[in-house]
């Protein structure tokens, strides 16, 4: 992955700062609780939800198992339909390809549909360096871009902003980029949406190049699918003369029919709707409708590394619905920025360290950014066992070593010896019980002391359980 978030502190530090921000906590709590209840209701409408979930999981697993075959098939079908396919091993290569394609058109600005893949590779920054202005057109992305901010949620990147903050950003910044916000803009969501409509309309109408991602690519037909709400996606996919779609290699489904599953599970999981307002499907180019040139840039950027890990590869099933973020107690309190990646929340905690490796402090800390409560797994529409992958990645990080992990390994080793020596264990337990009046409520020392600043130590029983059992039950 690119260096978009270079220099991020490890999760615990970033999260510590975030939980101290009461506005952020309130914004996140409000938003995640609202969507949580709605999602549960939308899912409950389908009494075959569990079967749809299982089928989605199996189709994604099957696709990943034969990814080479389906990639080649997709290349054939897209090409046959008039598109051009490009392959990029990493972020730099993808950025070079896209920059070159835009330059070939002679244009110096592009309109963009919200896309995780282009954020992941830092495309906007690369285009800016090449003198090309990239305008984000999704409302939340616009809020983030105008606010010189970073995204904090997969679906709603500006979830950390409330309506008052959004009003202030629009009023202050829109004029710098184009049409200013209307006079006397209030913070009602309808007025804010109207301001975005007016601001972006001129950009859509003059746009010659559009850049998108895709939710699905159908290998059998060469069809790309973009699922959205606002119509900004349709604008970018339809009005420009050139369309460039940057998509991760794992976004394939084998057949047209497979969409019948994901078009039921994705909208209900992400925005809690029976169906999102707009879904666009296109296959290559069409003579009389839409862009005359279509380029598909397939990116690896760490995905084949992830695919090689037999436990971790299930993360590639992700359809980016963000349901796991909305139910996560850690995300709700820490917010998306603490994860130091464009992929925050539980899915980010397993995806980022796999795509980027665990050498940086932030990536090594991400597998620990969870209480392993399992709510994420419950709601995942493709049944990614996020806790399983988290534990697996913790093992990997622990194997790398580091001060904390050396201490932990020493402690586990000592515990192992004691549990293997019942006599020593019994003696220790009895000593602990007899001296229990002398035990402090807090642990001494810097590390342990901090742990008990907000917790009490458990009370020691009057006698060890095994002694009590012997006396009373045998």
């Amino acid at each position: 992955m690119s260096g978009t978030f270079v220099g991020m502190p490890a999760f615990p530090k970033a999260a510590h700062e975030a939980v101290g921000n009461t506005t952020l906590r309130a914004n996140l709590r409000h938003a995640t609780h609202t969507i949580r209840d709605k999602r549960a209701k939308a899912v409950a409408e389908l009494d075959d939800w569990a079967l749809l979930r299982e089928a989605g999981k199996q189709i994604k697993d099957h696709t990943l198992r034969h990814l080479d075959t389906y990639l080649v098939q997709l290349e054939e079908t897209v090409t046959a339909a008039g598109g051009t396919v490009h392959w990029a091993t990493d972020a730099d290569e993808a950025n070079r390809i896209v920059t070159h394609l835009v330059k070939e058109t002679g244009e110096c600005e592009v309109v963009k549909v919200k896309s995780m893949a282009t954020q992941e590779i830092g495309l906007n920054e690369a285009l800016e360096e090449a003198g090309i202005a990239a305008y984000e057109t999704d409302l939340a992305e616009l809020i983030v871009q105008l606010g010189h901010d970073r995204p904090s949620h997969i679906l709603v990147p500006a979830i950390h902003r409330n309506r008052g903050e959004i009003r202030d950003i629009f009023t202050k910044e829109m004029g710098e980029w184009g049409r200013p916000a209307p006079e006397g803009l209030t913070d009602t969501p309808a007025e804010l949406a109207e301001a975005a409509r007016l601001h972006l309309r001129e950009k859509f109408l003059r746009a010659k190049v559009g850049i998108s991602g895709a939710n699905f690519m159908v290998a059998e037909t060469g069809t790309l699918v973009v699922v959205e709400s606002e119509g900004n996606g349709r604008m970018c996919l339809t009005l420009p003369e050139t369309l460039i779609s940057v998509v991760g290699i794992e976004k394939i489904v084998p057949t047209w029919r497979d969409l019948e599953i994901f078009l039921q599970t994705l909208p209900r999981s992400s925005t809690a709707e029976r169906m999102n307002p707009y879904t666009s499907m296109w296959t290559g180019t069409t003579d009389t409708d839409g862009p005359r040139a279509f380029h598909l840039v397939l990116i690896d950027n760490g995905r084949t590394d992830t695919l090689a890990d037999e436990v971790g590869r299930q993360a590639l099933r992700c359809i980016r619905c963000s349901a796991c973020l909305n139910v996560c107690p850690v995300y709700e309190r820490a917010g998306g920025h603490a994860y130091g990646s464009v992929y925050p929340g539980p899915i980010g905690a397993i995806l980022s360290p796999q795509l980027r490796g665990t050498t940086s402090e932030i990536d090594a800390s991400l597998p620990y950014a969870s209480s392993l409560c399992g709510a994420c797994y419950e709601v995942c529409p493709v049944a990614i066992d996020i806790p399983e992958v988290l534990v697996h990645l913790r093992e990997k990080v622990a194997d790398q070593g580091g001060p904390g992990h050396r201490l932990e390994r020493a402690a586990i080793k000592a515990a192992g010896w004691i549990l293997d020596h019942p006599g020593a264990l019994a003696a220790g337990e009895r000593v602990a019980s007899r001296t229990r009046k002398l035990h402090p409520k807090k642990l001494p020392g810097p590390g342990a002391g901090q742990w008990t600043n907000s917790r009490d130590l458990p009370q020691m029983p009057a006698e060890p359980f095994r002694d009590w059992w012997k006396k009373n039950r045998t």
Binding site: E54, R257, R274
Partner: protein
Amino acid sequence: MSSPTPPSSRERILARVREALTDAPETPEPTRDYLPTHTIDDAATVLDLLHENLADYRAFVHRVADDELPSFIGTLLAENGVRTVAVPPGLSARWLAASEVEQLLDEGAPGGAVLTPYDLDAIDAVVTSCALAIAETGTIVLDGGPGQGRRALTLVPDLHICVVRTRDQVVASVPQSLPRLDPGRPLTWISGPSATSDIELDRVEGVHGPRTLHVVLLCP
């Protein structure tokens, strides 16, 4: 002596995929035990459900008899203060026969009339047919067929009137819809007017696409 050409990125990615999967177990054929529909197979029930779900996402839904369609559209356009309407190729002339509006034809094809994005932006409304409608999700699907036009036509004007032939264009579910659609055509699935959940995850109607969507259920 020429040096061997380094492998292309395509070859490198495909090789890495194959290497990653060396020991991966074979996956079974996906099971499709889920339901083909969640609705009983009864035309009136399916139509009621479509009506209800379209309205739930803030589309205005009308049931109109075929012989009343021209006057109904005329009244609807007048009530909304519409002066100009974009007309896709193949739209039945009868549908707009009772409308007192300026009609701007977009043939889309080279040599024919093509409305620019700026033209479309200045047009008040668009009237179209559709390819099909899905009851369970409250969705209409356009495929650019007769009476539907290019995708831009139903995107830029702020008001969209879409006529659904209930006799043969309504299906109950998403699984029933896909076999009837041609992936080779550009498809637009529309479920209510443009909306966003981007402000505090609360749904607000009306951003970039048409802010008003009227769906006319044409009853025989």
